[in-house]
Amino acid sequence: MKTKTKKNTFKIGSLWAGPSALMLLCLSLIPLAMLLLFSFMDGNITNGVFPGWTMENFQKMFSSNVFSRLMIKSLGIGALVTVICILISYPMAWGMAKAARPHNRSMLMMLIILPFFTSQLLLIYAMMMILQSGGILMTLLGALGITTDGTSILYTPKAVVLVYEYLPYMVLCLYTSLESIGDNLVQASRVLGAGTFRTFINVVFPMSIPGLLSGILLVMVPVTGSFAESTLVGGPKGMMVGSLINSQYNTVLNMGYGASLSCVFLIILSIIMAVVRMLVNLAEKRIGGETE
């Protein structure tokens, strides 16, 4: 009887997952399958005429060095932005989790989340206003004698804009991890003679690894695939792999080549995600799930 009841409960429970599963199927799995299918098509299918199968899309991609060059460049920018976000986020998150008074934390959290309330494009334009010649930052630097009139750092450091956009993700991930570290552990470390640096290396850092790796995932993947930032503020050398894919879909309507670029891009990012996931598992094993 007991077994039967359990079985029934399981079936009813699994029904609740139906809408989510349907959404996952329609918005994720079917489009992914379509993308894979389109990558072997010779051109565009939007006019309703089947263009035929081909391997040329992949041959073209691997014979041209444009994709590989942009892929490496995009991964490099993704890594750079992630490292900068980590360096800025650690002290911020630690301050929020441990130094700020509990009743101030919600306000600080709100300040971190505030940029999410507006659109991504508006954030980019806001940064452009700050970075452009005659903007707040350049005027300030000019007044301090660091730069001369008419100097601008816009159109060169798209990483600055990307850091600004994705910093909240890293802060929130680290904050969650750091907050769960008990104060008594830090105190115990100090009582046992460890200094601030050693306490951070041996206690705080290992226990924050799961949050750190989640942050890396949330920052590096979208940054690598971004294209709006590189188009708007990247300057002449700002092109990233996302722009290349975008140009195939929106400029020459070459859906087949665009899909093949997207597929390889997805595979590369999936490998990176798998490696990150592996590191998360290793980290969790090492600290024995104490941060849970």
């Binding site: 992914l32 939007t46 601008s152 300057g235 002449p236 020459v252 309507l253």
Partner: protein, 384 residues
């Protein structure tokens, strides 16, 4: 993947919009009675009753860029008033988007559209256009000879598939306060004088055409272009470029802040800058410049063909063209001879048409292979 989903959503939205454009009438129901006999009746207050037997007025679905003349007060509202009909707009952000829109359900729902010259041929060859019965377009004889019977808009049997509406250029614009030397040639973009202060159009067709002009090639003959020479020329130019622009805003912001002082720009951008009080000169280099003509077409399977002809006549006719060429802050070049004669020198200068450029290369029709080759060159330049 995001693009596919976005395209599907855009398509659904477009079809929903079109579906909501009111009941469509059969051709017999929507047929517009002949206009006043006087062919210059565009200036006359003509009220034509086109109400159907059921009392519903016909709806004309127009595909256009948002804010591009036709939806001004002197555009669609005036047309509705003249012909007692309703005009619904479907907006697109690129001609490629219009093409996709038509291929994925727009035909039969959209009545008229505004592609540029180069796409008119693509649309015509894809069987997406109806020939225009010029006898139903009284202003046809007033249109400038140079823009009539363009090969892109003419069928094999001489049928007219599109009527010119406005023309423009993507030529050389600069801030005369920062660029004090005389500007007559594209060479100015390649020297050291304004290095890092140049903006260049992020459009592969215009980029390659401009470079072809600079390297002494004929950009209107895509079969005989040396793409390697063009690539090297664009790479040399890239060293001087501050930013690649893709929209009005992309250009206006760095120009007004002084980060950019010269570059290729749309005539409309130069007009906007000048009207906003920012110093701007716009010239046609001696080597030549890149031009375009925007054309109105009637889309295949329209169920209000006569009303569509009326729209073309209204858009290219004297009344609208005059307003379009003189509207403050956003004037455009006219293709109507009568209107051009009426314009003062000041009005012509406002749209940089006091002197018509002697060497204008229209965007050529590219095969899909050529499109891919050109884009590949442009992407290689940008990725370098």
């Amino acid at each position: 993947m995001k693009k596919i989903i976005s395209s599907m959503l855009i398509l659904c939205t477009s079809l929903s919009l079109l579906a909501g454009c009111g009941k469509r009438e059969t051709p017999s129901e929507t047929e517009v009675p002949p206009a006043a006999e006087d062919t210059s009746g565009r200036e006359t207050e003509v009220e034509i009753n086109v109400e159907t037997e059921s009392g519903e007025i016909p709806t004309l679905v127009v595909a256009n860029w948002k804010g591009y003349g036709a939806d001004e007060e002197f555009g669609a509202p005036r047309f509705e008033e003249l012909y007692n009909c309703k005009v619904e707009f479907v907006y697109f952000n690129s001609v490629e988007e219009l093409y996709t829109m038509l291929q994925t359900g727009g035909i039969g729902n959209i009545d008229v559209a505004l592609p540029s010259t180069v796409y008119t041929q693509t649309f015509r060859e894809s069987g997406m256009l109806e020939p225009v019965d010029t006898s139903k377009v009284p202003c046809y004889g007033d249109l400038m000879e140079a823009y009539l019977n363009l090969p892109e808009a003419t069928g094999e049997g001489g049928e007219v598939y599109a009527l010119p509406w406005t023309w423009g250029t993507t030529s050389l614009g600069y801030n005369p306060e920062a660029v004090t030397e005389e500007v007559t040639t594209w060479d100015i973009l390649y020297g050291d004088a304004h290095k890092g202060k140049i903006a260049f159009f992020d459009d592969y067709v215009t980029a390659l055409m401009t470079s072809a002009i600079h390297t002494g090639q004929n950009p209107s003959d895509p079969d005989n272009l040396d793409l390697q020479v063009i690539k090297e020329d664009l790479l040399a130019l890239k060293e001087n470029v501050c930013t690649y622009w893709a929209s009005y805003d992309d250009y206006l912001n760095p120009y007004t802040s002084g980060e950019v002082v010269i570059g290729n720009m749309w005539a409309g951008t130069a007009t906007q800058l000048k009207n906003s009080g920012t110093p701007c000169n716009y010239i046609y280099p001696v080597e030549g410049t890149v031009g375009y003509v925007d054309m109105w077409c009637i889309i295949k399977d329209t169920d209000c063909y006569d009303l569509a002809c009326k729209w073309l006549d209204f858009m290219c006719g004297e009344e609208f063209q005059y307003n379009f060429a003189t509207v403050e802050g956003n004037a455009h070049n006219t293709v109507n001879n009568k209107v051009y004669e009426k314009l003062t020198d000041e009005q012509k200068a406002a749209v940089w048409a006091l002197e018509i450029p002697s060497k204008v290369y229209m965007q050529p029709v590219l095969t899909p292979e050529q499109q891919n080759d050109w884009l590949e060159v442009w992407n290689e330049v940008k990725a370098n």
